[in-house]
Amino acid sequence: MDTIISLTTPPDIGYVRVLTTAAEILARSHGLDKREEMRFQLAVEEFFTFLAQVVPEHGPIQTVFTGKTYQVCASIRFQGSDLCLGALDASFSATVDGDVEAARDLRLILTGRMADRFRITRENDNAFILHVEVDKVYPPITAASSTVAPRAPFRAGLELDPDRLMHAAALATARYPAWHCPASFQTPGKFADMVGAGQFSCVLALDAASNPAGLLCWTKSGDRGIAFSGPFVFVPPADTPQVARLLTDAFLATVARENVEIVFSERATPDTPDGYFETLGSLTRHSPSGQDEQPVLYRHLREDMGATVWADPALEGFLRGVYDRLAMCRDVLEAHPPASFERTHSLFSTMIDKDKSLAVLKPLLDGSDVAANLAGHVRVLSDKGFTNILLYMDLSHAWEASLAAPVLAAGFKPRLVLPFAGRSDVALFQYAQAD
């Protein structure tokens, strides 16, 4: 069971000791090493101190600590849409030129790197949540022990047994490129803990002797989606289609009546059976060995009831083409950028996955600097070696949809639309690298 501690404090650095104590106790009680415990404490301390300095007039700060079996995290909720929060998103591009503000920003950058992940989400017009996560350290994967080749007949069902899950993750890692696998497959103990904590769900295919024959796992994505990985199949080629279909049927039967609209995958394996999913489009996957196209698969779990989306004129043709090809009924409303922005500084959330050289941007606030801000993100991320830069645009927000022109101008290309991935559909852009 998760441990949850919620603290609401004034934006006063005098309270920082309370927060770091909570962070320390939580990390220790969840078995994190001393180094991770310190990283978590320091990250919480620095982020809270930063916010206490920049939001003193904006009411209390609520910090929710969550301890899971595999991770501790702090979600720091604060008010402040009119603040300059550039340091929270353009954290890669700050430079120190001697002034106090830049030094503070730099400290925040370093703080961000203490955490395994940090990201910012927007709760409503004025409220933001800064999420800081530090993972428990797990032993890395070892080569999967050799097993006898599983033989038909096969069966598939939900799996919770940690040993079986770790074995299956190791088998998947040995057989499939890292791009197809969740990062936690590299540390199978973490993967099993994440399943135990409900972060992942899995169906496992077994033969009559309970040898693992295949694995498919999934996690919730947004309010109405499920993202899946797999199917990973561990049987001889002749039996692969049968096991892949068994896993896919078991997966869909399990989630069919859950509180979600769609399932999708940006990393489905080539063993995905034909006829089960629609292809939304593809993403170009850049890796040290070259580039190739990764199809993005999806299916609805129920009849599409239609939706309303906003579209900037710069994107409208693309969207109408997509909806026509997918036979989706959408009311497309026209979104235009405002004549002038209320804010100077725009804000983007940036999530990165170093193993995949992947960075994902999401707009949080518009502003008159949006074009320059995006260009800055691209420049810094590219310099840092992130060759796969994506941008998600929620088309249920007119202000967000109206950013299409600067997004295109910054070198992003619309690649596909993920139905119901946000409040309605989400347009997915990919930065097109110059060759």
Partner: protein, 369 residues
């Protein structure tokens, strides 16, 4: 201040509310079509029987100002005469969904369970879920309810076993011997709901008549509806019948005044109608079933049909995609992913022109892909 969601029980908070399809005029606008062929809800394409039509036409509008009979008094009298039972043994509801809810409320509390199939009418499972009752779902065996597995799933906390006979959506059914063995094996440990929504479509003499079975097994409650064979789906009238003691228990949790006057009048008239409507509907269903089986065979599609005015087919694409593609041609089918049959569709068996229109739209859709 507490958030509204803090006040909601977890089993309600986590429940996915059902979103019914939109009205025809909206769907037609969305998909750019000027007609819509509804083959998604197993409605009777022939509509209500003549006597029900006359009752509806004769309804004086001023009667709309008067509350209906709160317990469907006259309709229950007719039900009693039709089935040779006391009217008190019938409870009428706003469709069988309301009766399902009443039975679960009457017999179950937190910690209790019910047993049903994993691929059957979804409302049993839904009502259990949002009532905080554990629904134990037993996999079908060869597309049919598995009596032994269902018996094995019964525990000392099981209060109700739902048996959809014939089963929606597979059309499979238990014969007299199978049902009898099941009831003997259960030995009265739980209430058995025999949902016979489609029983009027069955002509086999080996199909068990729940109205007769309940006389030997007082733990059996039978559900029937006027929505399918009798073509009154828009008026929402369903009912249960059982041993008086069991019915009196359900009565405590059953709402009164939930069935409108029009529904009561039309249902009563439908019962009093001759057998012509039933015979005509059966002929239509038989003919349509034969036609669509040929269509699916020609396309190489696996299909399942049994009793009831519907047929299922496995299609070579996501059922939810085929739904959208057919909607663009004004044909509405039911996707089966939600029934845990991914890539299957269910089609209502209707009149010849409707079946031909469906087949034409299906072939055009497949030709384009």
């Amino acid at each position: 201040m507490r958030r509204l969601t803090d006040l909601v029980p977890p089993h309600v908070l986590n429940f996915e509310s059902y979103v019914p399809s939109r009205p025809d005029e909206i769907l037609m606008r969305q998909y750019g079509v000027d007609r819509l062929l509804r083959l998604n809800n197993n409605e009777n394409a022939l509509g209500p029987p003549p006597a029900a039509r006359e009752a509806l036409a004769a309804f004086p509008p001023e009667r709309s100002a008067i509350y209906p009979s709160g317990d469907c008094f006259s309709l229950r009298q007719t039900l009693g005469e039709t089935f040779g039972k006391a009217p008190e043994r019938f409870l009428v509801g706003n469709g069988s969904c309301e009766v399902i809810t009443s039975v679960i409320k009457a017999f179950c509390q937190r910690g209790d369970s019910l047993v049903t199939a994993d691929k059957t009418f979804a409302v049993y499972e839904w009502v259990a879920a949002f009532s905080g009752i554990d629904a134990r779902l037993v996999p079908l065996k060869d597309y049919a309810l598995d009596p032994q597995a269902m018996l094995d799933a019964v525990t000392d906390r099981t209060k109700i076993v739902f048996v959809c006979n014939p089963n929606n959506p597979t059309g499979s059914w238990w014969n007299k011997a199978t049902l009898e063995r099941f009831l003997e094996g259960l030995a009265g440990r739980a209430v058995v709901v025999l949902d016979e929504a489609y029983r009027e479509f069955v002509e086999s003499p080996d199909f068990p008549d729940g109205m007769e079975v309940m006389e030997r097994h007082p733990n059996v409650l039978v559900f029937r509806t006027f929505s399918k064979m009798y073509g009154l789906a828009g008026l929402r009238v369903g009912y249960l019948c059982g041993d008086l003691e069991a019915v009196n228990i359900v009565r405590r949790t059953h709402l009164v005044y939930s069935v409108g006057s029009l529904g009561q009048l039309a249902a009563k008239a439908a019962l009093e109608d001759g057998g012509g409507h039933v015979e005509a509907t059966r002929r239509m269903v038989t003919q349509a079933g034969g036609y669509l089986r040929n269509v699916f065979d020609a396309l190489g599609f696996e299909h399942i049909s049994g009793a009831g005015n519907f047929i299922m087919a496995r299609v070579p694409m996501p059922d939810t995609l085929l739904y959208r593609l057919l909607m663009r041609q004004g044909v509405m089918i039911r996707t089966m992913t939600g029934f845990r049959f991914p890539n299957w569709i269910r089609v209502t068996l209707a009149r010849e022109p409707e079946m031909e229109a469906f087949a034409k739209a299906l072939k055009q859709t497949l030709d384009k892909r």
